[in-house]
Symmetry: D3
């Protein structure tokens, strides 16, 4: 299983802090009222309440540490591990008020990310023996893109571009505004950072040909039938082996295998993020 | 249909700005490369691609206006309206680069919020003729609590507390730490703002009695059978008519009606948020 | 003496940091010019220069620690303790530059908070043998609400709502806009989080009756004579024992006892915050 | 009356926004519940409820405009004007929800600032016919320094340094650490921006002499008797006419005139800020 | 001349605001003291005081507009235009206090950016008739990367990657840590977003071959002689026409043409940013 | 060599964090892909690649510590030390991923600051035996003023004012708007903090006389010939020994000595900042 690394805490911490403040507001009335004296150290456990793929434990650990540096969060499942119902996935030791104050934010993150990883893996498993890879999209919950795209990786997918700035994606409206695929590519190449790649969205074989001819690095086949895809793949492979081919549009668990068998390189789908539910996890104090 | 008001833009705008920056990063390479000269005004339409309840159009409107004040976002569906597939739910006029740059963030929000409103309403519909109301929980996506709880309202639910600071919720760990329900309530009352209410989580009738006796404003029946709930409701109503009763734990579309028929006031469920998928919406330029 | 807990440092630290930056600006010219080499550890003392109630020492400790983690701030008075002139209330050990750089911000906070606690206690003492409690208001210095309301608690008062979002307060303008108390309560109940309470401001016995009848949780008697209050209290107690009664308006040390003797539950007053002066404290290095 | 200008809104707006968010939190439940439809424009008046000096109306105006750009705030008193009880000091027209949502923050600021201006003027009036001027100190409420020092100016005082970075103030601890006044001044001059001035705190005539000899721009006489001050002033004037002399320590309304009559240039006092109460102002809707 | 577009103001404004606050601090004492009454509208001109390429006028315009929306900034030179000494490059009309308060920040930006554009163009001109393009590096002034890379574009260069996240650059240390070029590429491909490209730094022909063989998208020739470069280019072109070749290391105006004549695609150089001085511009009021 | 102290980390850290985030963006793809397992500790060296004055090592140290607290940054050159080509100026030990992730930001800062210190010292050396001192200006890179002015100090210069708020500088436009030097000074004195100094820009001897007569603390001779300067200095010294004299305008290495020999106190020049290039430094791993 590949190891996915979270971005540096210098990038993540400001997000986690804002989320703790969102929940705590002007102070945790319940915990703040109970724990006014010396606060006992306690041990808590996180338990999976349904079968799924675990993602987000390092994020959860950091949430608790931002509240109280002494908290010891010991993951008992690795990122990407499939766990059974009732499996204890983490043990947490530390001051009880911090355990209770951080519980909800930490769990919300881990439940959301594990839910994404779980559904991602179902899609990935359907094409695991084929060379095609699953990629995500920019349909992510605002504010959580880094983490949700971390979760799709944990589930076995590959990230597509992270934002509007790290690759070019030319769609029909750009083409219309520029006056053609050729003009659109030319104009964008003038101002884009040179290591960036250009992906062109195509709907017909004619557009595929045009995109290829004018130097697209990636050709996206949008909402084509598997029959159309097969022809497009054959056409592109003959012309240029380096160009990557991506299929997009209405991919489901039912049709993903058929799409992959067209020989394309990547299938992009927002479903692992937009169609997943949270994996049920809970914390109990011992 | 009740009208739900979003918080003031002074509260929302910082969130929306950070989400636009998350997506745009160091600049939209595609749009920035194409639209370098005078930028034409265009009209776009938002279309529902599946049946559901619309929520989040005023938020989407604000997203576009933060990019370009001249953009005119005209909602064609009211918040909470049930729309059919292919229904045009908004018309947007303005500079084309802003339309394309704001599209993803605005749609991501509206799709997520509409998805929540849609599932919420299914729960609410199941008990619509009964006096019991559905309430949400603190299981919300970090950073989006205000908006996700707005969406559950649009779907017909009532908000539970917004954070750890605007009501007290005494759980078993608090009770254990304080040495009993009585002590926990007493200790918290000393330091909590006086208009706040105290909710006590109970698992047995004995606990219900104790919570009631020591002045809980809300008694939560956690994971009880409908039979236990009926007895608890009867007991509480006899003792104190003002106390509110809430049921919590594993409520589903299958059992929500049975739970409501026990006579309780509120059913809390995270399902509308943790179990909902995004409502499929898309933007097309005319 | 009850123990009041400050909100988590994750909530307070951003405030304290911004206040240190306000004072330090682009660098402490005096300290920065003197202490350029290895900086000696010194001991400082905080001394009360007038009689009063101490509040804010844990906040001051945190101010110093944000400048230099090694600083050891040892409080020698407990929060809420009445101290005499010349009493040493804290001992602080650490690098001299940090002691001098943090001195002003830390003292300003402790002086302001102790001043509030001191005047609060004078009001509280006047009704100490009666069941009525003193509550504060939203008349707090912008940016310091959490801390100033902490200080009123230290002085013996109870907090009223912390902001516009954690309870409902219906005033005459709301009533006028809604078309009556009944309509106002009904409309607000539709959208407010359910654990919130509704307080209605009343000026006459007729309004008291209306508020009570339509379900107010708290009835506020605004600017009534003690005679009117007595009648209102009697009326409300007969109708509904659970409803809380609050008196508001021009409460002074002279009349607070008379108001409390009307039997109301709470007296709200902004005086402990708007009429208090700072308690004189100073730091001296040994 | 001199016109005091507030810093640019680019400096003030972030403060005002944070203070509005402090009060509004997750949304104004009362106003948000009532005003869901088209919101009527209303007129409000601000009324003085006690005699005092008005300060802060331009700040209040900006608070409302941040909530709603259409709000028209018309001041009916000039900054620094002495107003009587019942005087209408401002008229505000605009959408009713914004009027109610901004009321508290705007009033809190104006009440606090007017209270400071009012007490400042009492000190200033006591020495109005003398050349000595009153100056403030760094004892200001954390976060409000710019505004509180604006208010002392409105009341007729002159600002002392705004922070640790815009002048040098050498106190006994600095002198001790450096090994003497001469060494302290020399060391600081090496690293301080050259337009900055150096003030030295002195307790004896010997220290005055030393400070003067080593080039202090300002000599502060700390806690001296008026007799000592007179001698120090005479001594300094003879040696160097350009050096400014400041008296500090326990200045009251009773002794300020005697201090000024010693011939010093400035009397610094924190009293206008630490000993002032809020000026009572209220808003009423017409 | 190609038109370079600045990122959306939603990305730039927070930077510009922080820079205005850096300069204004607690308020512009000079302007604030002079302009207290109605402030006259004035016209200012920006004049070039040396020959160079203009860059940054749209940024300067935005700086003034953040201070005062009514300011009209009319550029009289296009971005990238070569101007003579004494050329009037902009006319600015608006309230005089805003003109004076924004002058320094706006000029500092335009001077710095124009200086970069000017030196960039000297490098670009030296190879203008060859297909090789000049690219910048990550050696940019912290906080100004977006703007400094905008300036190199205005000067005719192409941007290299904007940060550590939008392309992969494998250096010797990465290769050593991974255990070889093959392993490094393989490991990174597992976790990188798929549209990203991989650049490998090479020092010998053997490394070039290895990088090419294992799928590098870009091969960087680091500190090679022009003779080595020629051989590497020939080798790579034969094997794979799609791979881009970049030369790096100690490129100067003297040797850049010789490097370009080796047939490589890109020459990267930090010199336009690290070796440029500011273009002298000044503002005068009419 | 005088020791210059950086402002407290409470002031600097927010800048350093924002600069790390600027470079790292959504995560370092190269380092994040290679270093997924236990990360080895390594030692790196910083080497000077050209002769110059070192400045910024304490800043660089802090950059690494913000990424990873365990990193040990050992400076091997003191701030202000002149180093030769190939001199090892620092040794850094710590986890390899943090070394690589922080490298660019830390080096960019040290290279920029050392470049400034290097050119500053050339100017300072030219007048080292004269009493005249070199001062910097407000022409600094936006966002880096504190650090760039730290570097001019390290190079031997003295800081001029840090922003628009810590001294008054009256220029021709202010004089024109106020109606004369006398009026301008009078008006500003009314509202400026009293320890601030007033500098007046003069172009003729008549203006020098007027500035002196109306109480300027500093007279700036703008763009005068050395002959004019000599006369102005003589005139001012005769009238008032305390007034400081500053020369400004087109100072170069060629003419600085002649300017200093006129007997003025300060020569202000933006050249050390606007005309300096970065000192070439690099990091190599052992």
């Amino acid at each position: 299983m590949k190891k996915i690394k979270l971005p540096s805490s210098i990038v993540l911490d400001p997000l986690l802090q804002s989320w703790l403040i969102e929940d705590i507001g002007r102070g945790d009335r319940t915990t703040g009222g109970i724990f006014t004296e010396d606060i006992a150290t306690r041990e808590a456990q996180w338990v999976a309440k349904e079968v799924g793929i675990i993602a987000g434990l390092p994020v959860a650990a950091r949430v608790f540490q931002l509240l109280n540096k002494e908290i010891n969060f010991i993951p008992l499942a690795t990122e990407g591990e499939k766990v059974d119902r009732t499996k204890v996935i983490a043990r947490i030791e530390g001051a009880m008020d911090a355990l209770l104050m951080g519980e909800r934010v930490a769990l919300n993150l881990a439940m959301r990310l594990s839910g994404i990883a779980t559904l991602t893996q179902r899609y990935v498993d359907a094409i695991a023996d084929l060379p095609t890879q699953l990629v995500d999209t920019r349909k992510t919950t605002p504010g959580l893109r880094i983490l949700e795209k971390y979760a799709t990786q944990v589930g076995g997918a590959v990230n597509h571009r992270m934002g509007l700035d790290d690759a070019v994606m030319i769609k029909d409206n750009h083409i219309a505004a520029a006056g053609g695929i050729k003009e659109a590519i030319a104009r964008i190449r003038e101002t884009m950072p040179y290591p960036l790649t250009i992906e062109v969205e195509t709907n017909t074989l004619a557009e595929v040909e045009e995109a290829l001819f004018h130097g697209a690095d990636i050709v996206m086949l949008d909402n084509m039938t598997t029959e159309q895809m097969k022809r497009a793949v054959q056409f592109i492979r003959e012309k240029n082996e380096k160009v990557k081919i991506e299929a997009s549009g209405n991919v489901t668990l039912d049709n993903i295998r058929a799409v992959a068998e067209t020989g394309i390189d990547y299938i992009s789908s927002s479903a692992p993020i937009t169609r997943s539910t949270w994996l049920d996890l809970s914390m109990r104090l011992k």
